[in-house]
């Protein structure tokens, strides 16, 4: 492994800060404890929480998904692309980039996911109810994540044509990564942690009252 450049150290430091901040959010939730319920339960919270993360998320059950299949699909691909880009970071910083068909497949997928991000951004700008709902954080978050995906594509693509050492692209990549990592805990991107907690609490609520999972019902 090559010696790391200053901007790579900066990116790693930002990653550390991001993880520590997200951990702090998570620990705060843990410290506040599990929901306290005095009413008699009517169902299984365990089953309902599992359902909250599985069946309740599917387009077959969730109205926000089945009424908006293009947005739902774009959102899904965009999130997959985001996680793939984050995963790829470790290979990029280690200097062991995927090669051949794998590199091409990743580039192709990231292109699709980044365009999904742009489509979601445009939707936010075009639809009136989304404009009213949105704040600068919504646009910055989308921009940073989408831009980072494009830079991941650039780094990977340049490596496939043997131009991976283009320092300006690399520098840009690490700077955006650093900004993104520092931004995640303060903006809406912290739903990285809160999404899981929200599904847990919703599952707990519906499970305690015997509403989820719906398989319990005869109807």
């Amino acid at each position: 492994m090559m010696a790391l450049q200053w901007y790579q150290w900066m990116a790693l430091a930002a990653l550390g800060i991001c993880l520590a901040a997200l951990l702090a959010h998570f620990l705060r939730l843990l410290r506040l404890g599990k929901p306290v319920e005095y009413s008699r339960p009517a169902g299984s919270t365990g089953k309902a929480i599992r359902y909250a993360f599985t069946g309740a998320m599917s387009p077959a059950r969730k109205e926000s998904a089945f009424l908006h299949l293009p947005t739902y699909t774009a959102g899904l691909l965009y999130h997959m692309g985001t996680f793939l880009s984050f995963f790829l970071f470790f290979f990029i910083i280690a200097g062991s980039l995927p090669e051949g068909w794998l590199a091409k497949a990743i580039v192709a997928f990231l292109c699709i996911s980044a365009f999904c991000g742009i489509a979601i951004l445009f939707k936010r700008m075009i639809r009136k109810e989304l404009r009213v709902l949105s704040n600068p954080d919504d646009f910055i978050s989308n921009f940073l994540v989408t831009f980072f995906q494009f830079l991941s594509i650039a780094v990977l693509f340049l490596s496939t044509v043997q131009l991976s050492n283009r320092p300006i692209v690399q520098l840009f990549y690490y700077i955006i990564y650093t900004i993104l990592m520092l931004y995640i805990p303060v903006g809406k991107l912290r739903h990285t942690v809160y999404f899981f907690a929200a599904r847990y609490h919703l599952g707990f609520f519906y499970g305690w009252r015997g509403i989820w999972p719906p398989e319990n019902l005869k109807n």
Partner: protein
């Protein structure tokens, strides 16, 4: 509006400290403003107003939290549009939290993230209640309950008189002089509650349950001291008043030494006492709390009452009260009853836990200032009813009954509105062979 003082502001913000929990912090931080919840809201569907998107209502509450409790909100509020509590924010909150949400919870179930939107609107109402901004009409309903013991301020003598003549009617109807509507009798198996609308406007609904209790030979009693199933403080967001009302009901069940507290047909009343009250009072109840629908289904299952479906003429559809079904978990019982009691039962689309609110929930019926909005959003329910081609719309909730009666008139549906107990009482076959230990 107006009149915001530093003291009021402080009281409003206290919610983020006194009610702090993992659940509250989670939901305040989770919304990503995707706006996909819009289609789950009856207000947005009718008005197409961006402010009625549930996420916008969530953001009103969350933006205040961000302003006072997050580093970003304190230092660069424009970034996340963190809002100060000021007169403009209060005006918008009152209009949206009270006037544009029935707390039906449909948006929560369908939120792409899993934000409990109705819970956050409820939190917003609690903030407003702490600051003394509950709409006067809703607050007067709560005041009546606190002052007189029931939300319609019915004097005890009037209730007792009504019950007496209903008892005489019951005796004539079942041709049995021993038939009774017991009042304040300790040691019975069941304490049955009433919605004050029943003695005031719909006494035949009390007769219906009395007849069912008679047919089942049930050991039951009413209370003249605390019978009001409703808890409008749950809607106003004043937790202290909600606690007082719940405590009174708890004390009366204990006082009468009843093993079961059976709630009259009232969605929010059931939710408030069955699910919320133990948390208000911070104790597990030693008695069972159930709806009369659950009890009637039990009677049918156990053969304690007999019904003849041919007595109910016409097609029957069912409206699911949100607080009973989506957030109360009573989904199957009313269907079980109707499948046994009527010969032509048809479901609305959607139904069950996915039902559409009638528009009268969340205290809307008590807030006359929002009447026009309430009747406009009822259009979605009217359309659903029309599509079933039903002759009778049945619902286990007196609040929904009121809204459906008005919807029936406003949208010229030409249907009959009944409660589940009324349908069962009409289909009831009085079997003299069944023992009546409760008499």
């Amino acid at each position: 509006m107006g009149g915001l003082t530093e003291d009021k502001k402080k009281k409003g913000l206290e919610v983020f400290e006194t009610e702090i929990s993992s659940k509250l912090i989670t939901h305040l931080n989770s919304c990503v403003h995707c706006g996909l919840c819009a289609d789950s809201c009856i207000y947005y569907n009718i008005y197409k107003d961006a402010r009625y998107v549930p996420a916008y209502k969530v953001d009103l509450v969350a933006s205040i939290y961000r302003r006072y409790h997050t580093l970003t909100g304190k230092t660069i509020p424009w970034l996340t549009r963190a809002r100060d509590i000021d007169d403009e924010t209060i005006r918008e909150m009152v209009d949206l939290m009270y006037g544009a949400c029935t707390l039906c919870g449909r948006c929560s179930a369908h939120c792409s993230i899993g934000v409990d939107i109705a819970y956050l609107v409820q939190t917003g109402r609690t903030m407003l209640a702490n600051m003394d901004y509950v709409p006067g009409t809703l607050q007067s309903t709560v005041d009546s309950a606190i002052r007189s013991g029931n939300n319609m301020s019915i004097p005890t003598a009037e209730l007792v008189d009504t019950i007496k003549w209903l008892e005489e009617d019951l005796r004539m109807e079942v041709n049995d002089n021993k038939a009774s509507i017991p009042m304040d009798e300790p040691g019975k198996s069941i304490m049955y509650t009433l919605n004050p609308r029943e003695p005031k406007f719909f006494p035949l609904s009390i007769s219906a349950m009395a007849k069912i209790f008679y047919a089942a030979g049930e050991s039951w009693t009413l209370s003249s001291r605390m019978y009001d199933v409703t808890n409008y403080a749950y809607f106003s967001g004043n937790m202290e008043e909600a606690r007082i009302i719940a405590q009174r009901m708890y004390d009366e069940v204990e006082n009468l030494n009843a093993g079961r507290c059976v709630m009259a047909e009232c969605g929010h009343g059931y939710r408030a006492f069955r699910w919320e009250a133990p948390n208000y009072l911070k104790k597990a109840f030693p008695f069972e709390v159930l709806t009369c629908g659950e009890l009637i289904a039990e009677y049918i299952r156990e053969g304690r009452i007999k019904v003849d479906p041919s007595k109910i003429k016409g097609r029957v559809t069912l409206h699911d009260p949100c607080n009973l079904v989506r957030t109360g978990g009573i989904i199957e019982e009313q269907r079980y009853i109707l499948r046994h009691t009527v010969s032509d039962f048809v479901e609305m689309t959607p139904h069950g836990a996915d039902n559409l609110c009638c528009g009268g929930g969340g205290g809307q019926l008590a807030m006359s200032e929002y009447n026009e909005r309430r009747m406009k959003i009822a259009g979605m329910k009217a359309e659903q009813i029309k599509n079933t081609a039903a002759d009778i719309v049945c619902t286990p909730c007196h609040n929904c009954v009121d809204q459906l009666i008005q919807t029936n008139a406003a949208y010229k549906l030409g249907v009959k509105i009944m409660t589940v107990a009324e349908i069962v009482a009409e289909a009831l076959v009085i079997d003299p062979s069944i023992e009546k230990p409760g008499l």
